[in-house]
Subunit: 450 residues, 2 copies
């Protein structure tokens, strides 16, 4: 699909459904965006650094409950941009003052998961565009809240799902669009990342060094670990499901219909506490019973009858792997063995190294922006996700990963919790588009613009 | 566990439950076994060839509805053993005459899946030991039938699950028994094998060359393909679940509790017919609607709270892979990337090549029998499975893969069909041991005997 056609089609779609009749009326000067940051912890700072590399962003406001973080961020802005952003550090609701100050066109939200919805909705109500970090939802209702805010206030929302921009993932998307895998049949992905030293630290360093969390922990361990104490489900679905969603045109001609999940026993976090040199059986945290199963696997079925397996595996010793598998009627790619098989091209019944194909079918975006992306976070992905948010905003075009993507992906977390609670019973997916999925067209990374 | 202890424990178990109070009273001379073959098609012939290598087997009877196959098998026996086996080729029920002729102590059953139960039960009723090829069940009741026959007639039954003896699988079992993976948490396996040229041929050759099946097909295409026409489930679960079952001590201190499955759309077989040079849209088989989803994935949960993902993927172009994953609190092995990670041994967060470990922890059976196994079917596995059946029989010891294993594994097929029919609803696993699983001890490959 050519970009021009897409714009045309998307105009048709817009007139049919009128989601953004007056997109971004709040952005006064489209050549640059006045950007605010809510949350400048470890993740927020990474995005801030990327933002400061751009000439089309002016960072005008920074909000964090931690004054040290906020000051550090402010200093970075001053050094790089010359201007002095206004700080909002007066407690957890000071973001409301930042949003009503009238100094930002858009915000980046990089706060603990449970704050994403309330902050996003507050911004959208002020017609401030939102780029929100990824998370799972605690309730279906909180997904609807963001959807309603976008629809009611005609203000863009982008879910900053960076893995959608991973180099191999985009090359495979490019290949799939050229029909090289044929009709897609079965996909897998997940989040398989040993987070034990993220969930526990010594209260001073970002990772490890102790078995503390909550009030005694630092950074993510302060809040993220609590979800492992209390919840049993796929707590972090977006890195796996984002790329799959783009490949299957979810909410754009297709949709998720049901999800069911199962969870293994929970051993990894307790063992980590007990076996750690700073822990042991006498450490109070050794008494905690973690609800999160070490491995949580979810089945997702789609309207177009593809199957998806999504794995969440964060408590056990293991190398990082998102475990992607893209399988169609003509071939299969898997990332774990870096291999591909395409009927009629690969030697019969034998895997080929994926690298050759991934290079040959490099996505246009990566071809164009490789040097800009290099050195940016997470192997370049972070460059692309911020770039897309800012460019779509400036061009008053639909967000490439929008509120329906966000709601659908985030819902996986609470649906999987429900399914596990019910012994693996399938759960119906809400249709957050209210039927618009039948007419909506793909917009994600159709060319080399963003 | 030392072999001696095992024998002792197993004696206790036997006196508690009295499954085989008078095991194998029908085998007159324990130094050699009079063996009959029911089914000497492609698979039966492979096993026959292996049997003829052994001095402790006399092949006395051969049954097949296909006279050409039977004669070929007879000739092979004569050439190798000197004796002339009696042939039973008078229609599908001639196996009954073979079983009542009093000339066999044991039979190998390698017939179409739907015949396994009726033939096994008929043999067991005659106190003839059964070594049965693997298959999925069409009903839970047929699983119970074999269980009841073994229990009622005190006659051994072994399911000939050869992948349980795969070299890497046994090395990993050995490592797991040494606690190198810690407490097991999550396992995966399956049957991922492009069977399109098995399901369709030209009626003359074993594999491919046409798109015929059923009456117009040859060998497996004659009967196996029909299951893909009519059934939607995991049609062939044992190669994946067998090794997993041994690792998790299923029916021996643990058991499967629930299963749920999902199936993708069905495209591969139809496409194969339409795109084949001998097929096309005008070929009558292009009108057939295959029920079998191209990819069927099942979740299995266990009493001890491990999780299992089992994949069945036989209709699409892909390299062969059973997709094993064995993951515990201390590490993980995957066969797709031939890699292993063990905490404290592997470099932090990095995969290691599995080969080094697999060699170092080679199972005692493979160490002892490597040269005997070499050249036998399926990379040596076939040697071990027949060897185990014959040795256990001669020694009047429990079958290493017994009727409870068989029933539990075969049940997966009909349970997965039911779950798919019900949109992914979890299905309860029957306890084919009627509670004996709580006391039964592992017996599979505990040492280097068989």
């Amino acid at each position: 699909m050519k970009r021009r056609n897409f714009i045309k089609d998307s105009a048709i779609t817009a007139s049919t459904f009128s989601v953004f009749p007056n997109i971004l009326s709040s952005v006064s000067d489209m050549s640059s965006v006045r950007l605010g940051f809510i949350g400048v912890g470890a993740r927020g700072m990474e995005t801030l650094e990327l933002a400061l590399r751009r000439k089309d962003i002016v960072v005008t406001a920074i909000c964090d409950i931690d004054t040290i973080h906020a000051e550090k961020a402010k200093k970075l802005v001053e050094e790089n941009q010359g201007n002095r952003p206004v700080l909002f550090t007066s407690g957890p609701y000071d973001f409301e003052n930042m949003l009503s100050a009238g100094t930002v066109d858009a915000v980046i939200i990089s706060t603990p998961w449970e704050w994403h919805t309330i902050m996003s909705v507050a911004a959208l109500k002020q017609k401030i565009a939102v780029g929100c970090e990824v998370a799972g939802a605690a309730s279906i209702e909180e997904c609807w809240q963001v959807v309603r805010a976008v629809e009611d206030y005609h203000t863009p929302f982008m879910i900053l799902e960076n893995v959608c921009y991973r180099r191999d993932v985009m090359a495979v998307l490019n290949m799939a669009r050229k029909n090289m895998f044929g009709e897609l049949i079965h996909l897998e992905g997940g989040y398989q990342h040993d987070l034990r030293e993220v969930k526990f630290n010594n209260g001073q360093q970002l990772y490890g060094g102790g078995v503390e969390f909550g009030d005694n922990g630092y950074s993510e361990a302060k809040w993220r670990t609590l979800h492992s104490v209390h919840r049993n489900g796929d707590l972090y679905p977006t890195h796996g499901i984002g790329p799959i969603s783009n490949l299957l045109h979810i909410n754009r001609g297709n949709r998720f219909t049901t999800l069911s999940s199962m969870a293994s026993k929970s051993r990894g976090l307790h063992n980590h506490i007990v076996q750690h040199s700073q822990g042991g059986l006498d450490h109070p945290n050794s008494k905690i019973k973690f609800k999160l199963g070490d491995v949580v696997v979810s089945f997702i079925q789609t309207q177009n009858e593809e199957t998806i397996v999504l794995t969440h595996d964060t408590n056990l010793p293991r190398p990082y792997s998102l475990g992607f598998r893209v399988q169609g009627t003509k071939g299969i790619w898997m990332d774990i063995n870096k291999s591909i098989y395409l009927e009629g091209m690969s030697p019969s019944h034998k895997w080929e190294t994926a690298e050759t194909y991934l290079k040959e079918f490099e996505h246009p975006l990566w071809k164009k922006y490789e040097s800009d992306a290099s050195g940016s976070g997470h192997g370049g992905m972070d460059f692309f996700v911020l770039n897309a948010f800012i460019e779509a905003l400036k061009n008053k075009e639909p967000m490439p990963l929008d509120v329906y993507d966000h709601a659908t992906w985030a819902a996986i977390t609470c649906l999987s919790e429900q399914s596990i609670q019910q012994g693996g019973m399938p759960q119906e997916f809400p249709d957050f588009t209210n039927g618009k999925w039948m007419k909506r067209k793909p917009v994600f990374a159709l060319d080399d613009r963003y």
